[in-house]
Amino acid sequence: MQESGQAAAAAPGVRRRGGLGQGWPLLGLGLAMLALMLALTVFAPLVAPYDPSATSPDSLAPATAAHWLGTDSIGRDVLSRLIVGGRTTLLITVTAVLIAMVAGLILGLAAGYLGGRTDEIVMRLLDVVFAFPVLLLAIAVVAALGPTVPNLILTIAIVYTPAMARVVRAPVLSVKRWDHVEAARSVGMSEMRLVLRHILPIVVSPILVATSLTLSQTIFTVTALSFLGLGPPPPDPNWGGMLSEARQFMELAPLTVIGPAAAIVFATLTFIIIANGLREVLDVGSVR
């Protein structure tokens, strides 16, 4: 489930071949899919053919020229809700993962570079968070604090920070003992500059891959929370909420379910493809 994106990374020792292509073409495809998704969501109000909250008597309509994906149980245009709903879903996902990335970067650098007591304390605290199943922890926090967009972003960020910190810490631990770092230190380079010039560049590749994998998992977590009724409050649409609402009448209008399902799969696939492409291009080993 939440770790599913890491499965491809788990294959040890064997160069991955075939399947979904490799390297630059893969990355290009992923970035093109991302660009399409971002363009649609950023310009959502301009692109969406209807007001996503406007109801009409024409409910549960099949796909027509007027409503490409039909309408939902109270006559709202499904396509418009998908496009505008993508805004909320992707906003939460991307913001939360960026926060987790920065927090993980800082904590991982601190733990790995300073080592000793700092390392011990930081990593042990993160282990407690890491011990929780992601979805369960997210549910607990959001159920307690209330499902608002800032709360959702904060929760997701907290949940994914430990994994990010681990990804950063491991290479830092080995790099700080390399000769060029020792050399830089011996000629009197300041600690801050040392970290920025010699340590940070080493972590860029693994954290880029980890970030795109985490994005794919976060799409799952965010939409799952909304599906459970812990998403952004109505009437603003979001993909998980749409899927959940549509279940009641789905036999009458299958597109109301297939639409958001396809959107969720598309977004997840985009980030997995980018992660696999990045892994090949940057030649990063398995990221855990």
């Binding site: 489930m1 939440q2 770790e3 599913s4 994106g5 499965a7 491809a8 788990a10 294959a11 040890p12 020792g13 064997v14 075939g18 399947g19 979904l20 282990d127 407690v128 011990a131 929780f132 199943p133 992601v134 979805l135 369960l136 922890l137 549910i139 607990a140 926090v141 159920a143 307690a144 604090l145 209330g146 794919s216 799952f220 939409t223 799952a224 599906f227 459970l228 009724g229 812990l230 899927l243 279940r247 789905m250 036999e251 299958p254 379910v257 297939i258 399902a261 969720i264 799969v265 997840t268 696939l269 997995i272």
Partner: protein, 313 residues
């Protein structure tokens, strides 16, 4: 070995304490007054609220409240539901039994599918390999609750006479019980089977290039024997690990899948409790589920150390 096991167990207790503290604090962090939430209504007489506060120990310092709550939890008292006014434990155990049944069935399906497709991909290569990897790549992107919803939709559209929702208790009718859990378990198993398939494939490919397999082939063992005695044996460890790591995923996934298929397990209980703001139940489920995951992970670590001595270092 003993030292390693004791260390792991001590660490497990520490993590469990951390988990319990998080579960406790979160439910004290709910917006508004916990006593009003417990009373279930805004318009409660101040005297009643005072009684509730005293009964729940809300007038004591936070640390004392935590210790009291923890003491109760350790002796099996997980609190009283705000909705049914009955102890959480009894209901939770009934629900947990259903969830464990579903999770185990899903694990079996996932292992069977994963090992079969992974093995086929690694041994046959060519088109089979390509198809399996394409399928795996796609399935990674389909969340289990989307699979579950689409299964329900499919049956609703094309086989409306088949009942896919609901649950039959095992004692009532074992066969119907299995039938009622089959589709939910399948929905839950798909994503996990992908991981197992990828791991099996990678492990078999790696072992197949080892010298001892070449020797086995050179001395004339049949491909079937090599597969059974050399490849499967060595490929099994990563498969078991992957299956263990996925316990958390299966438990988490069951929350959604049970809700969709109307299976009265722990996941559906959690879903209902979220909707009715039944905080003691949410707290108890979070504690129990996270506890199970921590326990299983510790057991896997220890089992792994027994198999492979290098892990202890």
């Amino acid at each position: 070995m003993t030292r390693f096991v004791l260390g792991r167990l001590a660490w497990m207790v520490a993590i469990l304490l951390g988990v319990s503290l998080v579960a406790f604090l979160l439910m004290r962090a709910i917006p508004g007054d916990f006593a009003i939430a417990a009373a279930g209504s805004q318009s409660v007489a101040p005297e009643v609220l005072a009684t509730i506060r005293r009964d729940l120990g809300l007038d004591q310092p936070l640390m004392a409240q935590y210790l009291r709550w923890l003491g109760h939890a350790l002796t099996g008292d997980l609190g009283t539901s705000f909705v049914t006014r009955r102890p959480v434990l009894g209901e939770l155990l009934d629900r947990l039994a259903v969830t464990i049944q579903l999770t185990l069935l899903a694990a079996v399906i996932a292992a069977a599918m994963g090992v079969a497709t992974g093995l086929a991909a690694a041994r046959l290569r060519g088109v089979t390999d390509w198809l399996v990897r394409l399928w795996n790549g796609l399935m990674l992107a389909v969340p289990n609750y989307v699979v579950a919803t689409l299964i329900v939709l499919l049956f609703g559209l094309y086989f409306p006479q088949v009942t896919v929702l609901g649950y039959t208790p095992f004692l009532e009718n074992p066969l119907a019980n299995l039938a009622s859990l089959l589709l939910p378990a399948l929905a839950l198993a798909l994503a996990v089977s992908v991981t197992i398939a990828e791991n099996t494939r990678a492990a078999v490919l790696e072992v197949a290039n080892q010298d001892f397999v070449m020797v086995a082939r050179a001395k004339g063992l049949t491909p079937a024997t090599i597969l059974r005695d050399y490849l499967m044996r060595n490929a099994l460890t990563p498969v078991v690990t992957a299956a263990g790591l996925k316990i958390a995923a299966l438990l988490g996934g069951s929350i959604l899948v049970e809700t969709i298929f109307a299976i009265p397990g722990m996941g559906q209980y959690l879903f209902d409790s979220i909707n009715s703001r039944d905080y003691p139940v949410i707290q108890a489920i979070v504690l129990v589920a996270a506890g199970i995951v921590v326990l299983v992970n510790t057991l896997i670590d220890i089992a792994y150390a027994r198999i492979d001595a290098r892990v202890q270092m």
